[in-house]
Symmetry: C2
Subunit: 133 residues, 2 copies
DNA sequence: ACGAGTTTGACAATCATTCTCACCAGGGCA
DNA sequence: TGCCCTGGTGAGAATGATTGTCAAACTCGT
């Protein structure tokens, strides 16, 4: 049962297409309201969750526990390098990391091993904005 | 200025020593109250945060966004393999992962690259508890 | 033991997220 | 095209972890 295509769902999807950064549900809700799309906060959450379940978007958690969402180019498993300052995100894949995780897990007798690998740093643009250290 | 040694601080520290699993602030608070140590929830949070700042304990976030704490044997940087079912945690180090993260970051022009690497799976004990697949 | 400065703890406040439930709209069908 | 059923929506309440507040209690150097 594919979800119905509603104005709200389309708006959320489009908002995600528009940016290459991770955005929180709150941020998306705000910018949607700002751009005239009447939409409820609960709907934004619901839609994001459905998109995430369907693998349409990637979810990760910021340091302060907020969930952020991003429409990713590749649907296969991959990781991110996110700028702490501006939020710009780069998709990366970890050749070897996957295998490493599986190997470690097996060595400890664990099955169904999943892994979370995220990198964060300060991107070149933000660094030069404040001047070199 | 080393923090003062109070009954509450000692109780929290001891509670952490007692277990090898990650525990939430709420759980710790509850078990401290249960074992007769009168302590406020706010104090548990404060103490855990201070311990975490001082590198005394490791913090990570569960899938539902709750912070969990654990007293770790090694103080150097390391990662964890946590059982999804029973919460048992194994400390692991990632030879190569650190370097890999730094290399990826540099290649994208990022500085001060930090990385988060956590593994989760089902440990052997839990697996046999329900029988093999 | 004394006093200054921390720490505590009950409770309120915050904040993201989820729940509720009456109302509304998408879309298959006649 | 119009109807109706069903899933989707949204305003606001509820939840639950975490943090802020501030007077009272406690630690520790003297």
């Amino acid at each position: 049962m594919a979800p119905r295509m509603t104005r709200q769902r389309a708006a959320v999807a489009q908002a995600l297409e528009g940016s290459s950064d991770f955005r929180s549900a709150q941020q998306l809700h705000e910018s949607l309201r700002a751009s005239g799309d009447g939409i409820g906060l609960a709907t934004v959450y619901r839609t994001l969750q459905q998109l995430a379940d369907g693998g349409e978007v990637d979810v990760l958690r910021t340091a302060d526990g907020e969930s952020v969402y991003r429409r990713c180019a590749r649907r296969e498993h991959h990781h991110h390098l996110v700028c702490r300052s501006c939020g710009r995100a780069v998709e990366i894949d970890g050749p070897g990391v996957e295998e490493w995780a599986a190997r470690i897990g097996a060595a400890q007798g664990f099955a169904d091993v999943e892994h979370t690998v995220e990198l964060s740093g300060t991107c070149a643009r933000c660094r030069e904005a404040v001047g070199p250290a």
